[in-house]
Symmetry: C2
Amino acid sequence: MEWLEASTENCPVQRTLDVVGDRWTLLILRDAVNGVHRFDDFHRHIGLSEAVLSDRLRKLTSAGILRTAPYREPGSRSRNEYRLTRKGWDLWPALMALSQWGEAYTLGPEGPVLNVHHTECGAAVRVVVECSTEHSALAHEEVTARLGPGARRRS
Amino acid sequence: MEWLEASTENCPVQRTLDVVGDRWTLLILRDAVNGVHRFDDFHRHIGLSEAVLSDRLRKLTSAGILRTAPYREPGSRSRNEYRLTRKGWDLWPALMALSQWGEAYTLGPEGPVLNVHHTECGAAVRVVVECSTEHSALAHEEVTARLGPGARRRS
């Protein structure tokens, strides 16, 4: 069986997009990675409607990507803020990869909005596809994809 | 200035999503990475309408992510197929990162659809955020983000 004959129904890219493939969702996660936790902050910073934000936060929480944690400002009622779970942080490489492409191809003359560094040594970070044994960064030509046990014939 | 005060207008994640942030677009790119090049193959394999596929292929071509190359089947007229450019291949780490998350969190009991290996040694590949100097894979806690020269105050 070849890739074209395999069903895409259980493709992991497709299943990931089913959960986080919405543009607003990815922008919420981008802000969460950068330390944004509160409804009003997401709302103002991303500039999406309260209704859409509520919906996306609810979906991300029910998917286990964000968790709620109560906080209370002096003189206000208790509210929830939104924190990335481990499952949520595991989307960080995907967000960094999207950012890396944007910096390579859409960067304005003013330079990057955000510089991301290895805290310890100060060097820039980058996203690579690497060999899990040799830890060498791989070009796509060095990689082979074969259908696995989950491949189903497309109907 | 803090992240929350910075405009997201020139955020590289947002600018990338402006180009490829549509679900169908990402599924077309997933298929292109896996060797799908022809209109009818994309159409049948992904299961999207011809109108949407035409639109997305046109946008990807005009963005320089796909390029067209003529081919001719015996007895048919010449048609175009779609090939990833370097700019398109540079989205490969993002697609692999989305796939990796899907394999970690949405994998069915039947196992993966696709096994991706380092051709030379046969080991699995993985996507990591690494230090560009030490080439060590980094956890998000080991990384610091600071606003860069392109940061603009949100209006």
